[in-house]
Symmetry: C2
Subunit: 249 residues, 2 copies
């Protein structure tokens, strides 16, 4: 392939509120082409879905109070994290890493207090991010006639490496893992262990054009049309490593 | 920012052999613009630097033989991994994860047997990937008059998530971590914990245009000129999380 890829921020989206149809808003803000991949940040999806919580209304239980004291965190925030989680992976050094109810492992169950309309409100991850991606894709299809792939991204920290990168927590219309195993390499020998996390690389690429203090939650990656599929595909949940195959829990 | 970003594969690079000046080869293959970021895969850097090893010439010691037997791996490969490593992080389920002598934590110390000229030859990570990036940048500056930022990338697996993404193991000419902490968010509240691993996101974006079986080791990310600095900056080693701050060793 030698076609250049372009990554274009979507500008002119209105401030999103609960009940908004994001797919319609995006299709109205920018022309979408077949073969586009729309990458949209979790926060705006959560706002549209009403996945927000007012910390003043959260009553911390004993586990949350104990963890909050140990980690020097707000007990209400810790309770909100526990409510969104299946299990605690690490709680040390002021860091709370859990497995969310949808199977993602990240800090604070993905709960975030920045870029929200009011102090004391936090966003929660969508209840089913793959379903959210499918719904946004359907809305775009109805509004524009085109059905770009949709990736819902969030910024996750990593073991061993400082900083966050954007990764995919939901997707529709592409295979989130691209399997090169078994194909010959340039010398004709079989490539081993090459399973590319395509959806995560798309999320990372889109983050390069996002201006985090300008509220720019959406970007289009253009030029990977051969990766966009007609059906919605297996979703980003298929990226989750099964726990019995994971050495870091 | 509303300028679209483009990611362009560099085509027409010759097969690289030991002693080649990669910066000159790239500058000869494609016009480079000021403000470009050149992302180049570790393997081609290692070949140019002679960082290859013939497994038939590696004599496995007792630790390597024991680990190899337990993991069902080639004892010579395991010895080569140990030679490149400071410490073993995990050795379970057929997977050997180590901290390399340069501080990266990854499978097999980054040793790779695909896309090499001969069976039985493996590539090792560059001895000092940040120095490699600086040298390539200097070669480009001398050959073309322009000094794009240079990122050396490799494909790493991740805990909790299947598949590999490309990350940065060397860089020159940009700040690998972009610090948004302390800046106001859209609502005027301070953004917390937003330290973007820019060099890793650049590596991931470049991988989207690489055709792994076509030997396409290099891509240019164009449109982020405001991130390219005159000096070489702190290098990708600054991405390494200090071990006392790491919950997953």
């Amino acid at each position: 392939m030698s076609i250049p890829l372009s990554v274009v921020p979507v500008v002119g989206l209105p401030e999103v509120t609960e009940g908004d149809r994001l797919g319609e808003l995006v299709a109205g803000a920018t022309p979408l082409e077949p073969g586009d991949v729309l990458v949209i940040s979790q926060k705006v999806v959560s706002k549209a879905e009403g996945r927000v919580r007012r910390l003043a209304e959260v009553e911390p239980g004993s586990e949350a109070r104990e963890l909050a004291s140990r980690l020097d965190k707000d007990p209400a925030l810790v309770q909100a994290v526990l409510d969104e989680s299946r299990s605690v992976i690490r709680a040390e050094q002021g860091v709370l890493i859990t497995e969310t109810n949808t199977g993602w492992i990240c800090a604070n169950a993905g709960i975030d207090a920045s870029n929200v309309p009011e102090e004391g409100i936090v966003t929660l991850l969508p209840l089913d991010p793959d379903a959210s991606a499918q719904r946004i894709r359907s809305e775009i299809r109805r509004a524009s006639g085109n059905a770009p792939a949709v990736v819902i991204s969030d910024s996750f920290g990593r073991p061993w490496r400082l900083g966050q990168v954007d990764v995919a927590i939901g997707c529709a219309g592409l295979s989130p893992l691209e399997d090169w195993r078994g194909r010959p390499d340039r010398s004709g020998r079989e490539l081993t262990a090459t399973l590319v996390a395509l959806a995560d690389e798309l999320a990372a690429a889109a983050d390069l054009v996002r201006d985090k203090d300008a509220g720019m939650p959406t970007a289009i990656v253009r030029g990977l049309g051969e990766r966009v599929r007609g059906d919605d595909g297996p979703g980003a949940a298929s990226i989750q490593r099964p726990s019995n195959d994971d050495l870091f829990r």
